[in-house]
Point group: C2
């Protein structure tokens, strides 16, 4: 089924292409300047010496005391255990990732078809195509980050390895979220069948993975698969569920497919500009701002009810608006000049608006009872946002009176906390989202290794029931919103 040999190829310089964006309806995200640029062989040679010296210095200071041979030193929390075969060798403990050199149909072909549907020019060498901006573009940032990361970089918790035997985990750089929106721009009344099929891409990916020796070895448990859009890879999610999944929420995933224990919640890439100003309320005259789709399915039905409650409040701006460049400008303006930003559930519990609010330093008011949030081990969201349960939020007058009661001091406190953690939501920040995602992957290693070792010896149960290990919240306490 694979277009290429099953054995993944090594690093190819010609694929170290520059990042960028197609002209069309998508604007470059604010962080585009941070993406890697094409680098020449010369540049690489010049860069490598200081990096190697730095590496040597790190290695020197990083040796464990002799009495603790199986653990190792790092600025990141990764240990190399006996289970990994590296028992007594102290080593730099960066997360070692083997990134598959996937057949192009799983990534560059997706960009090509996205361009074709939008009648954008497609060069002969599709590897020079630029990835378009959209809210689920972590797949591009992670791919770019790893692409030439064969030497450790100061501040980065990850290094790419070309030898699978050295790898802690295996990254599958499929553009699964972009694939989902390729055909969105097709005219509704088109007579011709679409040239691209997301479902076919998914099936082919599942078949391709199934053939990989590295995948088969541990049933995919040490693989990392990105499916950031809540619908990405929906057809094959059951076949890749053993992997660490990088997702936006669990709204469309069953509890045996994904969980906080096994998987990682990613932030959406924010689509409006970061607020460059400081903390303060002077320039934020609006109490509460919301702009987005009034009508949504499932948990998002609350939106219409909130519109009815709030649209006549004098210091509240609540507007229906679809995705467009014009909407983004209005949303930027609104979020940069409001104290609070409303974040109701969408079709699924998460929504990109939350991350737009955070980078705007507009305190999020989250009305989404089942939301899961990125990086919650290092971010206490109760310090940067206000949670209101759906039932309370729908009581007439409740929300506005709650928010009007928040003192200026408390608002400044929230803003200061937002400022501290903002970088976690900036994909383009050199110590931002991408680093944190890899750090989160590192933290999964002990459990990944435990499950791999355990799978080697578990005896088949008498029933077909899965054998699960869980951590539970009793939810016996209703936290007061302030």
């Amino acid at each position: 089924m694979s277009e290429r040999s099953a054995k993944p190829r090594k690093y190819h310089l010609h694929r170290n292409r520059s990042a960028g964006y197609l002209p069309g309806e998508e604007e470059p995200p604010p962080s585009s300047a941070m993406l890697p640029r094409r680098s020449s062989l010369l540049k690489r040679a010049l860069l490598s010496l200081p990096v190697l010296l730095l590496l040597a210095f790190y290695a020197f200071v990083s040796f464990s005391p002799p009495s603790s041979p199986t653990t190792s030193v790092s600025d990141y929390a990764v240990t190399t255990g006996a289970g990994n075969g590296n028992g007594n060798v102290p080593s730099l403990s960066l997360l070692k990732v083997f990134m598959y050199d996937l057949p192009e149909k799983f990534n560059y072909d997706v960009i090509k078809h996205h361009a074709l549907v939008r009648s954008s020019p497609v060069p002969d060498d599709i590897s020079s195509l630029k990835y378009p901006g959209h809210q689920h573009m972590a797949e591009w940032y992670l791919y770019s980050d790893l692409f030439s990361a064969y030497v450790p970089r100061p501040g980065s918790p990850v290094v790419r390895v070309s030898d699978p035997a050295e790898a802690d985990v295996f990254y599958v750089p499929v553009f699964s979220s972009l694939s989902l929106i390729v055909n969105q721009a097709r005219p509704a009344n088109s007579d011709t069948p679409p040239a691209y099929s997301d479902e076919e891409m998914q099936e082919e990916l599942a078949s391709w993975l199934k053939e990989q020796e590295l995948w088969k070895r541990n049933n995919g448990r040490d693989h990392v698969v990105i499916a950031q859009d809540p619908n990405a890879l929906y057809k094959i999610i059951d076949r890749v569920r053993n992997a660490v999944l990088l997702v936006s929420d669990f709204g469309r995933l069953k509890s045996d497919q994904a969980s906080l224990v096994k998987d990682i919640i990613l932030p959406y890439s924010h689509r409006i500009n970061t607020y460059a100003g400081n903390v303060g309320v002077e320039k934020r005259k609006t109490l509460l701002f919301f702009m987005g789709n009034r009508y949504r399915k499932e948990g998002g039905k609350i939106r219409d009810l909130l519109f009815q409650l709030l649209e006549n409040e004098k210091d509240v701006i609540i507007k229906h608006g679809a995705q467009s460049r014009e909407s983004r400008r209005a949303a930027t303006q609104g979020m940069h000049t409001s104290k609070f930003c409303l974040n109701p559930a969408g079709d699924t519990p998460s929504a990109c608006r939350l991350f737009d609010a955070i980078v705007s330093m507009c305190i999020p008011v989250i009305v989404s009872d089942s939301i899961e949030l990125p990086f919650e081990d290092v971010i206490d969201y109760s310090k940067i946002s206000i949670f209101v349960d759906t039932t309370s939020a729908l009581k007439p007058g409740y929300l506005v009176s709650l928010l009007r009661g928040v003192s200026k001091e408390k608002i400044l406190e929230y803003q200061k906390e937002i400022k501290k953690v903002k970088r976690y939501f900036e994909y383009g920040n050199p110590n931002g989202t991408v680093n944190e995602i890899w750090r989160q992957v590192s933290q999964k290693l002990p459990l990944i290794r435990l499950m791999i070792n355990r799978d080697k010896r578990v005896v088949k149960g008498e029933t077909d029931e899965p054998n699960c290990s869980c951590i539970c919240s009793n939810q016996t306490v209703l936290i007061s919103p302030l």
Copy 2:
């Protein structure tokens, strides 16, 4: 309910007592020499200077690169996240444990009553009593390890802190396993009611914890509670289940009380001597050895069936024997001179015999379908033992013919692997079980912090169903035993 004030007291020098063992039916475990000795103020003063210098050196080499301010460097995998309030301060990342100075009824009184029942002398100052040796004595080793660990020790992943604000986790040093066996030595026909009650101790502990501000703050999630005997704390386990539990197995725990994700499986302390010789089969003439109780409840019923199958095989020694000094001598002799050691389930899936076999370099043959094993992220048990599912093990001739078919080379390979990991099962080894337990606790920190932060903002669900995050084994593959 508490005998002392709710606020835990600080370190008291008079409690830094020497470790040891009561005379009586329990023999000192092999590692007794490793336990801490009483140290004088002078010794402490002399010791502190070099330790502080070492600490200063560690701090120097441990600073993170400036671009990764929230993570820190260590020879152990612990990071200090923003959620911990230490956002931008690089620090030594040892696991910081606040150990409660519990009322004596939860530890020293237990030793006293254990001695009284056995008519051993009890000094006026019960804090000079020695902890008796038995198979669930991790509670003593952990307590001793932390007792004066206020400065980092080379090779140790843990440091004791006296300020709760600095702590990563809170350790409850209750002697819950010893408490369970206090009355075991009482004559069956005694007329007087017992002076000690394990159940009362448990109830009082639950009440005491419930009053602690530190416990209430996060509903116990950042607490570590030891209950190594499968019956320890059985009455109150539901009330302490949010904590990280240190247990032997999950045989008597429900899935919402304990799991691989939240808790830590401890090895039993081995009760026979470590084999001092090298790998080899020359001195191991017996094929398979087992000595222990023939009749057990539940999963242990398999034992009697195995006796019937194996007792007439010529190169197999299978003997019924209860706990006694004489039995231990015979078991030592048998395990040190056999190639394989049988480990059937007991009343619960785990049994101390497995760890006796490992330190004897006698390859464990594990017949216990639901066993969970300690430190399985760093130990691949399929390399050091043979797993046989119960159904196969009960087929006449299956076990012996399987074991007779293992080549000498393969046996040596198993033995070499056992030698590599033996230290993980030696509580007295300075880089043994105790260090590994603390390292395992460290690895729980990200999930502990995530759950604490998440609990602050989760909205009560519509049902009383707990909200659980799981990792599952599909158990679709029956691993072949060799």
